[in-house]
């Protein structure tokens, strides 16, 4: 109120007060009448203001994100090379399904979905311990989070040194009497090595998200569990998981999206898709078809397939987790 009184519009708001009603009406039109020509420019420009403020952002998003999405879907039905721009129907998609590399990429997506609970459970458990104030919890929080800020390229380069055949990890295994493993050279092992490194590099991100979820948790629930003599696993199962179902859902979806879209740097530096194409993921396949083999239409088909996979996986997760949340 006090902030309003010195302003020129003040009298209008003074209207309802009993004694002022007589003096107010003649006053009101006075400032209103001369102002229309002025105000017209004012409110006119003012009415446009939201659109002026939003225009550059919307323009960039539409032209450089949504338009390319449509363009890409359309593109995936055309041919490459000699048949450039010609409508080929589903030919690119059939080529994809025939391509062993793309099939490996899909198989690896399946593997990621299977490993997803591990990638969520590790940060979830660690966040629980940190929340329950394990000695040194602040230190752990800071340390665990730091790899999450490193570029996948840097992480990949560092692990190229660590996972080398004569590197530290094999030396450590040798010390306890286990044979050396060809982490990045064995087709059966390499994808697990890369996913492991990805989890190493990103669990801190999920951890911080879990901790933010914990900060919304009602502490009296935990006290009640303690009074009832619940063990730690019981507390986690009956108090923490139901209370954090939203956060868990968020972490599941973002972790899956992260696995499908942010391992490019690791793959590029650590394996280049090898050995024998065993570490291909759809995103790497798209890059190779576009960048190396100059097959943009085929790459677009793979892009569209990736988008569909993400949509299906995301929606399925939300459905499953929502139902799980209701049952609790």
């Amino acid at each position: 109120m006090t902030g309003r009184s010195p302003s020129p519009v003040g009298p209008a708001s003074a209207g309802p007060t009993g004694g002022a009603t007589i003096t107010a009406p003649p006053r009101r039109p006075q400032p209103a009448r001369p102002s229309p020509p002025r105000n017209r420019r004012g409110p006119g420009a003012e009415r446009l203001a939201p659109f002026v403020l939003l225009a550059p952002a919307v323009l960039i998003i539409v032209v450089l994100r949504l338009w390319p999405l449509l363009l890409g879907v359309n593109f995936s039905f055309t041919g490459d090379g000699d048949r450039n721009g010609m409508w080929v129907g589903l030919a690119n998609y059939l080529t994809l399904l025939d391509d062993p590399l793309f099939r490996t990429a899909l198989r690896n997506v399946g593997l990621l979905v299977l490993l997803l609970p591990v990638a969520v459970a590790i940060p979830g458990l660690l966040a629980t311990f940190i929340y329950l104030k394990v000695p040194g919890n602040r230190f752990y929080r800071a340390v665990y989070f730091f790899p999450a800020v490193l570029s996948p390229v840097i992480v990949g380069a560092i692990f190229n040194l660590l996972l080398a055949y004569d590197g530290p990890l094999n030396a450590a295994l040798g010390a306890v009497g286990l044979g050396p493993v060809d982490w990045l050279g064995d087709p059966d092992v390499a994808i697990f090595a890369v996913v492991g490194v990805h989890i190493w590099a990103t669990f801190g991100m999920a951890l911080v998200v879990f901790l933010a979820g914990f900060s919304t948790l009602d502490p009296s629930l935990l006290d009640a569990a303690k009074v009832d003599g619940a063990t730690l696993p019981q507390t986690i199962r009956h108090v923490i998981i139901p209370s954090l179902s939203r956060t868990i859902q968020f972490v599941f979806v973002t972790t899956m999206i992260g696995m499908l879209t942010s391992m490019f740097g690791l793959l590029f530096v650590m394996t280049g898709g090898g050995p024998e194409g065993s570490t291909y993921l759809p995103e790497y396949y798209i890059w190779v078809q576009q960048g190396q083999f100059n097959q943009p239409a085929l790459a677009s088909a793979a892009s569209t397939a990736l988008f569909l996979i993400m949509l299906v996986v995301g929606l399925a997760q939300i459905a499953v987790l929502r139902r799980a949340g209701k049952e609790e």
Partner: protein, 275 residues
Amino acid sequence: MSGTRLAKWVVAVPMAALALATIYPLVFTTNVAMKTRREYILDRFSLSDSLHWDNIVKAWTSVGMSRYFLNSVIVVACSVALLLLLGSMAGFALARLRFRGSSTLFLGILAALFVPFQVIMVPLARIMGDTGLIDTYPGLVLAYVAQFLPFTIFLMTSFYSTVPPEIVDAARIDGNTVYGVYWRIMLPMGTPALLSVGVLNALFCWNDVLISLLMMPSSENRTLMVGVTSLRGQYSDDIPTFASGVLIAAVPVLLVYLFLQRQIADGVTAGATKG
């Protein structure tokens, strides 16, 4: 009670082991970077007998790392400045101005958030090629802005939603135009949010390799992370210099983490609690 205390210590052991596993790779790389080639070949684990800064100098000067570093600084600075300006403008409009279609627009921007770069990269490269923006600073900056703008708008909108509407009303009554409210009130008030979002965007852009690989094909336009990927080929027989190059690229990020850890965490979690 003593049982819980014991349980806490039991989980503390694996936690400490994991903390070691988190720190050790960087310690190892730093140690390797300080060794001579000979020392590395003879024993890669022992501490270097003295600090050999010449590896760092060699990595910095010989494969254009300094040039790539400069490219990254220019592109990241421009991208973040543009992201913060456009993101705060749009966020303010969506959170605090009433107009038709505002919720539809917000949903559209949210939808754009879920379009991964891999899905649009092929057509985007073509669009950039057709407009002559490929292999230029503005082209890469635009690509980054397009990539991270939905996220920026989302966070700025949720931040401005927490600003009491009375503040906007009071500023309007004091005779400010909408633009005046944005520039004089909302922008300064948003400093903590801008810092969080800005740091996070800076990390995203600095750490990116895929977008810059696609948008900057020529070797002198490489950004630092793309430069790192080419180091391995150059120094496959000189691991200490390779490790030095990796450190050069990692140090700015580690410094930012050291000083702005809280802001980074705030940015990461801002979307999470809203679900």
